[in-house]
């Protein structure tokens, strides 16, 4: 707790300190306070490829311009994902291999096994069920009375969706939310007391999913577990439990935190830019371009990391073999050289899908169309029911330099007149 108290007294002004090797943006408290923007603005202007010599995650490069991020993301032969995709290094004694953190060829074969579940053809089949679940959640909300949007809507909706994709026992679905939070918990957060407890709970996750695997092996099905248990390149994965757990966590986090925080972020954005809310109410067709704009504006995962496999030059800086390179999507999405008026939320942008939130290259988000579909359906149904959603006080944000999201956002729904 002492850290939290100190934090309140902290000076978050990036211009109050020198731009040198100690300039460190990888700080969960900075994101919790929503104070990271000026830090990234300064990096983009003064040191777009910047080396931080020391941080709690060790030394790392920050890449903050849109074009440079695209370059790193594209060149997977130089910038490797092997061993981890966040700034936090994997525990050597508790490794969780997952295909997003692998290079070709293993990455390619494993990804191919599970990607059909979120292919557009499959999504079209799921749309009716998703809409039904969205409607049930929205119809149960109180009007004219304060409640927490994160808990009642964002978490509930994305967890139900995830349970659907896994064909996970519906009554146990809260476990999925818990495992998702655990997997990405920052050591400064209060999500879990100790590392031992975290591991223990993750082992429970593995056991639970191990039972689902056993039930489904040999019986082909459309859910993610059946696909893994019966897929040619993954059907022996249960013999490598750490890898099974790693990929489960990838799918749980990928399908949960990201959409959850975009559902909350969209409501917040429309409150900060009320003229956009008016535009939307006047023309519901704008949902289609608003959805990718929400995903850009929110950038639910702030970064992805790579390791240089060889000495290389990036925008004039020499990156050494073995160096950790962090692509700050959250910064590239606010880069004025790539996006017009990047800090503004504009629901009718010309090319709204030209953003970094899904990454580019071979690790590009596999579930991007699913996430967009969930947000689209949610907004279609919200606009049918309510006049507007009023954010009544500042949301509480996640303490993390990776998951850029919200733990709580009090709102009041206003009925249609």
């Amino acid at each position: 707790m002492s850290e939290a108290v100190d934090n309140e007294k902290r000076n978050f002004d990036p211009y109050a300190i020198p731009m040198d090797g100690k300039f460190n943006v990888a700080d969960g408290f900075l994101f919790e306070a929503d104070e990271q923007w000026k830090w990234f603005e300064r990096l983009r202007n003064e040191a777009p490829v910047h080396f931080c010599e020391e941080s709690e995650y060790g030394p790392y490069w920050s890449v903050t311009k849109f074009e440079d991020i695209m370059h790193v993301d594209k060149n997977h032969g130089i910038y490797s994902s092997e061993g981890g995709i966040t700034i936090v290094d994997q525990d050597e004694d508790f490794p969780l291999p997952m295909f997003i953190a692998m290079d070709p060829p293993t990455h390619d074969v494993q990804r191919k096994t599970v990607s059909p579940v979120v292919a557009p053809m499959n999504l079209a089949k799921m749309e009716g069920l998703i809409r039904e679940r969205v409607c049930t959640i929205l119809d149960g909300l109180p009007v004219g009375e304060e409640f927490d949007w994160v808990n009642r809507v964002s978490i509930e909706l994305t967890t139900q969706m995830l349970a659907t994709l896994f064909d996970f026992p519906f009554e146990d679905r809260a476990k999925l939310t818990r495992w998702s939070d655990l997997a990405t918990a920052d050591e400064n957060s209060d999500i879990v007391e100790t590392e031992e407890q975290r591991r223990e709970e993750l082992m429970e996750c593995l056991e639970y999913f191990g039972r689902l695997w056993q039930e489904r092996a040999g019986k082909p099905g459309d859910d993610l577990i059946s696909m893994l248990a019966n897929g040619e390149s993954t059907k022996d994965m249960l013999e490598r439990p750490a890898e099974y757990l790693g990929n489960l966590i990838l799918l749980i986090v990928g399908g949960n935190d990201t959409t959850r925080n975009s559902l909350t972020g969209g409501v917040l954005a429309l409150n900060q830019f009320p003229e956009e809310f008016d535009k939307l109410k006047a023309n519901h067709d704008l949902i289609n371009s608003m959805v990718p704009e929400i995903i850009r504006w929110q950038t639910p995962l702030a970064h992805m990391r790579r390791i240089a496999l060889e000495d290389t030059i990036l925008n004039g800086q020499t990156i050494k073999k073995g160096d950790k390179v962090v692509m700050w999507y959250v910064s590239g999405n606010r880069d004025e050289d790539a996006i017009e008026r990047p800090n503004d939320f504009i629901i009718d942008r010309d090319k709204p899908r030209h953003h970094l939130s899904f990454g580019f290259g071979i690790h590009r988000c596999m579930g991007n169309r699913l996430g967009e579909m969930q947000l689209r359906i949610a907004w279609e149904e919200i606009l049918k029911r309510f006049d507007h959603i009023e954010v009544v006080s500042e949301p509480k944000r996640v303490i993390s330099a990776f998951v850029k999201g919200y733990t709580e956002m009090p709102v009041i729904l206003h009925a249609k007149k």
């Binding site: 292919a119 053809m121 580019f360 290259g361 590009r364 991007n368």
Partner: protein
């Protein structure tokens, strides 16, 4: 200059004329042809400008690069005539080419 015929998934046909040196992706974009998203803007990094090349034309195009191959591979619906339209330059040699749009972009 080359004439390019785009055939939508529902069978609608549109023919456009494109300048040499541009890409098939831009030729579609500049002429308001739907069916291509091109999220990355022509960087061969998102695979949302996927098209299917009429069989008679497949062998007349430049071969698939390693980068294009790895991006196409992300698509479970990849076919033997799948290409990314951002990677195909418009030249005199492709005058008359016929391009099929897929049902979905990923």
């Amino acid at each position: 200059m080359a004439k390019i015929k785009f055939v939508q998934f529902d069978g609608t046909e549109e023919t456009v004329e494109a300048e040499n040196g541009t890409s098939l992706m831009n030729a579609a974009f500049d002429n308001g042809i739907s069916g291509i998203d091109a999220d990355c803007g022509g960087e061969c990094s998102c695979a949302t400008c996927h098209v299917l090349i009429d069989d008679a034309w497949v062998s007349k195009l430049a071969p698939i690069s390693e980068q294009e191959d790895s991006m196409l591979d992300l698509n479970p619906d990849r076919a033997s005539n799948s290409r990314l339209s951002c990677q195909i330059p418009v030249t005199e040699e492709i005058d008359g080419i016929v391009i099929q749009m897929p049902e979905f972009q990923y």
